[in-house]
């Protein structure tokens, strides 16, 4: 028995020896050592050996065998968990660490493993696990390193430095602590050589450390600097596959697909097949189904099937946004903006993988913006144009600050821009924000970033968008746009939120919070105060609709609309009111209510169509067309009828350019009745005096339907 235990100890020491060689940058010696381990006959050491050789299948097999052979030993489970963690299989890793903790309660290496798993998901529980590990083993310097990384990701370099120093006090060779110290310097634009010199003395090939640093830069949206660090990691150790994969993913994010693809393929072929690598490769394979439009300042990538239909709308908004922001931000970008529009939400989701607290509608990487296509969302649930302006604002904020802008400020500006471009766009005061206001859950400006990256309640990210947007509205209203711009530029120097607030708003952040809350409280007072009563009465009213007491519905809905005017979701008082007015044959009342609905930002296409119909019936084709035009920015897909009606209205209102645009959209909407679509387009071209195009489209119409009488008549007219 003693011999067996001694044997196990000796073999474990071999593994530790190999890891030490690697840890000291002796890669060739480490390689030979790990190769020897694969022949050791000990399952755990063989697993370590195969892991080092990137032979995932064998590593897994031997880890499994090791766990089976040593059911009472938590170590094989922890090592297996670390293997999974390196391959970004966090759930599998967590399961193994939990098993290890069942085998040995409070086993420090398993607690550190859990802390790493949680840190990967930006979960504050990471801190709890790391602290618990330190209670069990005060010399577990890796726990301090985890805390330091967490603090860095949390935007708290001071705490990160404290934790890194604690780790270094325990072990001067705490490599991650050294790299975190260097990263703190790099993020502030300092050389960091004090730390890298020490690091390189211990390990001149510490690719893992540079990868950790790169991730911190990426999380802070400083992609280009992150990419440089990944490259550095690969220079040090070309075999370190996580760096190769992550470099590929981030190159893809910045639109550098030619370099990204071989990078990812190489990682995949070498056996590194985590979800990010596989899904990014799959996404890149779908690019053959996209078309790319390049003009002077924009690159627009749309899926082939919807490219013809969406291009005019997206191109116009993108070019308009670039023109507006160039002036507003007093900045000309050094390269074109690339916008990618994904009809499949899962493809878009691949773009946001591994990043904390990103909104689910669009994402910006430097000059590259990826977003959902309207066809990927339910009608009325997504205002794509508002999202486009939001994301493009990030492009300018990031460029203006060399990616140093804090999260809350760039989101605040972006939300502000949504309604600055059009008061009807942007999100309204929603029930979640009202609840947060009631419960006083808004954060101080100095720590608002945490609302995005470390939400402490389910809706906090959304509430933080709202708060940040309102802060920018308030600053814009009280101090003006130039102050916002000056703050943005100051963030570019690396200044912190308290410093920037004090410098430009001439008050302490705490004083700003008081003033801002007073301003916001006043602006939202009636909606917040009346919300509970409003909720009860709206529920009751919706239940009463079946009773068809339309006078009562009108009286109640009018009242509810005044209490909470921002509510434009399905079942809103505006819609109930319009329906009741129509029942009472009061078209003017219905029209007024729906007009209000549209102006407040109501997005349901069927309701906007109803408004257009009423306006048309009232002899207002131009206003009716404008009502339908709103749908172009919400759900311009799968609705040939809407484009046809809108084209007809514009034509009647005398706006031939917009009529042409809409009839063209109808022809690109795969109409059942292609002949009528081309005929309408011919009518619009004729009205615009473009007779050649009119004839050409008539030919298309009659080719599809030779006996189409109206088209025949127009042909005869044009042939005279």
């Amino acid at each position: 028995m003693k011999f067996v235990v001694l044997g196990m100890f000796v073999v474990a020491a071999w593994g530790q020896d190999c890891r030490n060689l690697h840890r000291h940058g002796k890669l060739n010696e480490a390689k030979a050592c790990f190769a020897k381990l694969t022949q050791s006959g000990n399952a755990l050491q063989m697993a370590e050996g195969y892991w080092y050789q990137n032979n995932s299948d064998q590593a897994n097999n031997f880890f499994r065998a090791a766990v089976k052979a040593q059911p009472k030993n938590p170590e094989p489970r922890v090592r297996w968990g670390r293997f999974y963690l390196e391959r970004n299989k966090r759930e599998d890793a967590a399961a193994l660490f939990e098993e290890a903790l069942e085998v040995q309660k409070d086993y420090a290496p398993a607690l550190i493993g859990m802390a790493l798993v949680m840190a990967g998901g930006f979960d504050p529980k990471s801190v709890e696990f790391a602290e618990k590990a330190l209670q069990q083993d005060p010399k577990a310097y890796e726990a301090h390193e985890v805390l330091a990384r967490f603090a860095m990701e949390d935007g708290n370099p001071t705490e990160a430095a404290v934790q890194a120093d604690k780790a270094l006090a325990i072990s001067p060779e705490a490599l991650d602590a050294l790299i975190i110290r260097a990263t703190i310097d790099w993020m502030e634009g300092k050389p960091g050589t004090e730390w890298t010199d020490r690091l390189h003395k211990v390990n001149p090939a510490y690719a893992e450390g540079y990868t950790v640093s790169a991730r911190i830069f990426v999380i802070n949206r400083r992609y280009e600097e992150g990419i440089k660090l990944y490259r550095k990691a690969l220079e040090m150790n070309p075999q370190y596959l996580p760096a190769r994969s992550e470099l590929g993913v981030n190159l893809m994010r910045l639109g550098e697909e030619d370099e990204a693809k071989p990078m990812l393929e190489a990682a995949y072929e070498a056996g590194f097949r985590d979800a990010a690598t596989v899904n990014t490769l799959k996404l890149m394979d779908t690019y053959k189904n996209f078309v790319t439009l390049r003009t002077g300042k924009i690159i627009l990538r749309l899926e082939k099937k919807e490219a013809d239909l969406l291009r005019p709308y997206f191109q116009a908004e993108l070019e308009r946004a670039v023109a507006v922001f160039e002036k507003k931000y007093e900045l000309v970008l050094d390269r074109p903006v690339q916008l990618e529009v994904y009809p499949n939400h899962e493809d878009f989701a691949v773009r946001t993988m591994g990043l904390p607290g990103l909104g689910a509608l669009g994402v910006t990487f430097g000059n590259v913006v990826a977003m959902d296509s309207p066809s990927g969302r339910k009608p009325g649930s997504f205002h794509w144009a508002s999202t486009l302006w939001h994301e493009l604002s990030h492009v300018y904020a990031l460029a203006a600050t060399k990616h140093r802008v804090p999260r809350w400020f760039t989101e605040g500006l972006a939300v502000h821009e949504e309604t600055a471009v059009d008061p009807e766009w942007g999100d309204r005061l929603d029930p979640g924000a009202i609840r947060a206001l009631k419960d006083k859950k808004l954060l101080p400006i100095a720590t608002l970033d945490k609302g995005f990256t470390r939400p402490s309640y389910p809706n906090q990210v959304i509430v933080s968008y709202f708060q940040a947007g309102k802060i920018c509205d308030y600053i814009n209203e009280k101090w003006g746009w130039q102050t916002l711009l000056a703050m943005l530029r100051d963030f570019g120097t690396g200044a912190s939120t308290p410093v920037v607030v004090e410098r430009h708003l001439k008050m302490k952040p705490e004083a700003f919070d008081v003033e801002f809350m007073a301003w916001l409280g006043k602006a939202t007072e009636s909606q917040v105060k009346g919300f509970d009563e409003w909720s009860k009465r709206l529920r009751a009213l919706n239940a009463e609709v079946k009773a068809k007491d339309f006078d009562k519905i009108i009286a109640e809905a009018e009242g509810l609309r005044k209490i909470y005017p921002d509510y434009v979701e399905p079942g809103s008082p505006y819609e109930l009111l319009a329906d009741a007015y129509l029942e009472k044959k009061n078209a003017a009342g219905a029209m007024a209510s729906l007009n209000e609905y549209a102006k407040v930002g109501g997005r349901r296409p069927s309701t906007l169509k109803q408004l257009a119909k009423l306006l048309d019936e009232a002899g207002k084709p131009g206003e009716a067309a404008r009502a339908l035009e709103r749908i172009n920015f919400i759900y311009p897909v799968q609705d040939e009828e809407m484009h046809r009606l809108q084209g007809d209205l514009w034509l009647r209102a005398g706006n031939t350019d917009k009529a042409i645009r809409e009839f063209q959209a109808a022809t690109f909407s795969k109409p059942i009745d292609a002949a009528t679509s081309y005929y309408n387009l011919a009518r619009a071209y004729r009205a615009a005096g473009q007779l050649d195009l009119a004839r050409e489209n008539l030919l298309f119409a009659l080719e599809a339907a030779p006996s189409f009488r109206p088209a025949q008549k127009l042909l005869l007219e044009l042939s005279k």
């Binding site: 059942i672 002949a675 030919l699 080719e703 339907a705 030779p706 005869l716």
Partner: protein, 316 residues
């Protein structure tokens, strides 16, 4: 493949003389049945769809319409109505049987759910054998209707189903859009004043697809069309699969003015002229791939102008 058949009625005129003029004077027999709903919501929906269809077709000329709903939609009544067509219809007449409701498939037999004993696809096929009309359309909009293709298919019959198999058991929306095709002028995509079985199918199929896409729901029905008498039905009928040729020539709904013109002796000559030009246009379209683009455009433009002038004369 026969080129004339490929190009439909227009070219057939060139080869077969006044076939279409005769057809214009044929009668269309509509038999529409709304089956059991099982619950009030479906009961109402099926009946109202059947009545909507009834209303749409009654307003067109030369029709014989029978619509069975509620307790009258029994097997015996359906068979009796078919018997009327057996006695009264001619070979050139069109017979349109539309089933609205729920269907079931037990792995062997498809059955249409109606009050009393259900009607199986095989029983329906057996009755329809005796109808003299050789231009038949069966539109089965029920759940599991894909299983009815095999028993119903004949080389003179177009079979349209809401589902691709008997295993698609959810209630369907296809019927709603199929009925819509009878009243939406845009369903007449070639603007020849009639909605063919193919046009109605394409209309309802596209609307059904759009419905599921817009709702972001997984489609639980996949419509099919079979008109060769030997296939399993296809989603997209066309030259590559040989389906849709018969369906294209079967008018489900005719709007009327052409029928009126066909009755006038002085317009007969112009109609024949019109049909001749239409045939030439079809032929040119058939040869499009092999014709230089400029020449195609020039010839097509000339023929279309010629056709427009003849039509102007007919309309006078």
């Amino acid at each position: 493949m026969d080129a004339a058949a490929e190009m439909g009625c227009g070219l057939r005129i060139v080869l077969l003389g006044s076939f279409c003029a005769t057809v214009l004077q044929a009668t269309t027999w509509y038999i529409t049945v709304a089956g059991l709903g099982g619950e009030p919501e479906y009961e109402t929906r099926f009946t109202s769809l059947a009545m909507e269809l009834d209303k749409a077709v009654r307003s067109t000329p030369d029709v014989k319409v029978t619509t069975l709903t509620g307790s009258s939609a029994t097997k015996a009544r359906i068979e009796a109505v078919i018997d009327e067509a057996v006695k009264g219809s001619k070979a050139d007449d069109v017979l349109v049987v539309t089933l609205i409701g729920h269907g079931t498939f037990d792995g062997t037999n498809y059955k249409f759910n109606i009050p009393g004993p259900d009607l199986s696809a095989a029983e329906l096929a057996g009755k329809l054998e005796f109808v003299p009309s050789r231009r038949q359309v069966v539109i089965n909009t029920t759940s599991a209707s894909g299983a009815s293709i095999e028993p119903l298919r004949r080389d003179y019959r177009t079979v349209i189903t809401a589902t691709r198999a008997g295993t698609e058991k959810n209630a369907t929306v296809f019927g709603r859009f199929l009925v819509e095709a009878f009243r939406d002028p845009s369903a007449d995509s070639d603007k020849n004043e009639s909605v063919s079985a193919l046009e109605a199918y394409v209309y309802a199929d596209q609307k059904t697809t759009a419905f599921y896409e817009t709702q972001k729901r997984l489609a639980t029905e996949h419509p099919l069309l079979e008109d060769t008498g030997k296939g399993g039905g296809v989603r997209a009928p066309g030259p590559d699969n040989g389906q849709g040729l018969l369906a294209r020539q079967l008018p489900l709904l005719r709007f009327g003015s052409l029928q009126q013109a066909a009755r006038s002796p002085e317009k007969q000559k112009l109609l024949a002229q019109r049909e001749g030009i239409e045939g030439q246009i079809d032929k040119l379209k058939y040869e499009k791939a092999a014709t230089p683009a400029d020449e195609y455009r020039k010839r097509l433009g000339a023929l279309l102008l010629q056709l427009a002038r003849v039509q102007e004369e007919i309309d006078k």
